[in-house]
Amino acid sequence: MTTRALLHLRHVGNDLSRDKGVDLALAAVLVLSAFLMATGAMVMERVVGSVDQLFQEAQPPHFLQMHSGDYDPEALEAFAARNPDVAAWLIEDMLGYDGAALSWSRAATGESGDFSDSLIDSLFVTQNHEFDFLLDETGAAPTPSPGEVYVPVAYQQAYGLRAGDGLTVATDTGSREFRIEGFVRDAQMASSLSASTRVLVSEEDFRELGRAGGGAPEIIAEFRLADPSAAAGFQRAYEADDALPKNGQAVTFDMVRLINAVSDGLPAAALVFASLLLIAIAVLSVRFVIHGTLEGEVREIGAMKAVGIPDRSIMGLYLTKHDVMTLLACVVGGALAVAATGLLTRGVEANYSQAPPGAATVLVPVAALVAVFVFVMAVCRGVLGRIARMQVVNALVHGSLLEERRAARRARRRARRLRPSALGSRRGRAVNTRLALLDLRAERGRWILLPVVFFLAAVLMVLPMNLLSTFTGPGFGTYMGGPGQRRPRRRALRRRRRVRARGRGRGDARRRPPDGRALLRQRADGGGGRGGAGRPPRRCGGPAAGRGRVPGGRAAGVRGDRAVAAERRTVRRLRGRRAGGGRRRRGGPPSPSAASTRTSPAAAPPRRCRGRRRAGRTPTSSSPTWRGRRPPARWRPSTGSGTPMRR
């Protein structure tokens, strides 16, 4: 090491040991800012990574339309066949239950509880076989046996459920018991902003529940596109077709992703925000400290300048300390952040998926820390820039940091100000008070730091809280164009039940065949599903119809056009048989033939056709008519709260 470097080091060492208190405080603030910044960055990266990972495994639809009420499967079929972007599509049947309809119990300990405090709707579904899977913790898509149920990890976390617990569903015709077999992650509805979540049961149980009544039947028409980026155009095409079901939310892949990232990235964003404020405080303090040093050592600096030591070298003497301090703070903060991120992302990784660490896992927090470092350094350099600007004689002789012109301006201003406040002009009364006030005014550059830091600290506490409550407020998701409100839906559900009770046994004209009319189209070019070959084809008009179905999934991907055409014909034929031919009349009673071929719940719950009243067209949340009004009530998924459950 050179003599010069040694000398430099000795300077830094002595400099550090001179002002231990100040330096420690400064270091603490710097460490904290670096820590929060790195943690925020890491959590964000983890959230995005986990969401992406889950999306890769679960293959959620690129476009989905929720719907309640009657619809025309033919129209969907025709639309899908017509649209070249569709790689695969399906209709998922769901039975929605209010939290109050569900309860859990643990036989071993006698513990039990219900979900009535949950703002989240439970949608009972069966496992998809093509895409949009519900995944267990291993990443597999479980298919429950009769009597088994897989509940969302959100419930697991909120209620402390365990495999083996009992789940009871209150239906219109008594309660049904299930055994919780495991927990599933839901790419579509994993977001903590989502107001509904899917519960997995077996096909048999699903039909049984449908017959039992009490659940609100709903569907999701899901599409996977060959080119996911075409989702927006696809949505326009879908909305332009009047024949398609639209009584509910339409959501694109990107929207789901965004909602997921926003809802679970929110704490991370709050951390980053807090760290930004802390950095502001740190930078103010650093400025203050450096200023203090400069002011205390003007003459020494002046002497060094006079002797001809280059400004850069003088700055270097003062910079090294802060360089080292900031660097250490970034390293320590980063190390702490690694530990904290592990804790913070546990929930995210349960809800989504554990993304394998990639280059971004390291680069993102490092980039954040480098940004902190560079910023603090830039500020230090900015303050120390005064060394270059100060004049030798002014500094050395007058002890003034200012360059000549500024010094002159200040001197004139001071002279003007001092004249009327001269001590003599007040007949010696309260001289001390006047001196104190003059001192305060002269030194305002020093003490002003305190209120400013207090102010920033207050903002630091208040703003993230408000930000969070804004994001998690019931209106936010709607505003974002995401899924709608939650509470109206619950009201609608209750209302619907009342209507249903009245209508029962009267052969409700609005009754609709609620069978497993789910169908799947798998294009030859798509191969979106993976449930194909090995597994039994999923509900395609029920077991009876299922026999005639061609397996989808990858098998479909390799089939030729002719096979596809044949399949298409089969499906059409099946549908014809099932629905009693042609286009089903909206709200019309099921034809006897359809009832016999369908393996649907026999006592299908009637549905109100909301679509009719709304002229078949529900404004989506992104349309401005939504804002501030009650959204199309029964459709969901909706923003409930930032946390999955609200107790």
Binding site: A303, M304, P310, V392
Partner: protein, 266 residues
């Protein structure tokens, strides 16, 4: 002394330092104050010039403008034939580092470094390589030895006397091997015994061949110079030449100076 004799002196020996019609006006005051003006001066190499005058007469201002610490607002200042007024800030700083030595009334040192490090700091900054740095360090150590402060080299700035500090200041300025050493009241803050220490050191430096320009109020100090100029209201009004310094003449030269200063109205 008149301008003609000054010019004569300049032609007699190689000039280390020269200024022509030098003026400095401070514009920060209202109205602007012309502190020095019309200064013509030349110091030959190896000369020892003392600048005297009443308080506020512009002695320090003249020194700052001659040494490149400040920029004159009129005229020119030349150091070894190089016009300082034409240099940029950075070049000026470089000239001060390598060609000029400065000693002030109040020695200003970094409290974070010990005496030796403070002395070596500019020399090490001026050195361009490892070998030069080592040479500078050796030179610094030699100077400390010569001025009797080697034993306090490891002391902190607050642990040495004012005289030692001022001698350290001289070491610092000499460590860079300047062509001219400027000193502004180097003994102004010292008691008489310390003053003698410091003046002995400066005389020693001069005897070694250095060019010195020193501002002082003290006739005893000024008596060590081979030439004394007198400033009044920012103008050079008179000058007096002495022969080379020797210890025996000290008393006579001082009395001589005092009489001269009385004539100048001090």
């Amino acid at each position: 002394m008149t301008g003609a004799t000054t010019a004569q002196a300049v032609t007699q020996a190689p000039t280390a330092l020269e200024c022509r019609d030098l003026a400095k006006t401070y514009y920060s005051t209202d109205p602007p104050s012309e502190v020095v003006s019309g200064i013509d001066l030349a110091v030959r190499r190896g000369g020892f010039l003392a600048v005297m005058g009443a308080s506020g007469s512009g002695k320090s201002t003249l020194l700052y403008n001659l040494s490149g610490m400040d920029r004159p607002t009129g005229g020119r200042a030349l150091l070894e034939g190089r016009d300082l007024t034409s240099l940029g800030d950075r070049e000026m700083s470089r000239v001060r580092l390598t060609r000029v030595g400065l000693v002030f009334q109040q020695a200003s040192f970094l409290r974070t470094l010990n005496v030796r490090d403070n002395i070596l700091l500019p020399a090490l900054k001026a050195a361009s390589g490892k070998r030069q740095a080592a040479e500078a360090a050796a030179r610094g150590d030699g100077l400390m030895e010569r001025f009797g402060i080697a034993h306090v080299g490891r002391h902190g700035i607050t642990q040495v006397s004012g005289g030692q500090l001022q001698r350290a200041s001289i070491c610092r300025s000499l460590a860079c091997e300047p062509s001219v050493l400027f000193a502004d009241e180097p003994t102004g803050a010292l008691n008489s015994s310390m003053t003698k220490e410091v003046m002995d050191a400066l005389t020693d430096v001069h005897a070694g061949g250095a060019t010195i320009v020193m501002v002082t109020h003290d006739p005893a100090c000024a008596a060590r110079a081979d030439r004394v100029v007198f400033l009044r209201d920012g103008r050079l009004v008179d000058s007096r030449e002495f022969g080379a310094w020797n210890e025996e003449e000290a008393g006579r030269r001082e009395d001589d100076l005092i009489t001269w200063l009385r004539e100048q109205g001090l």
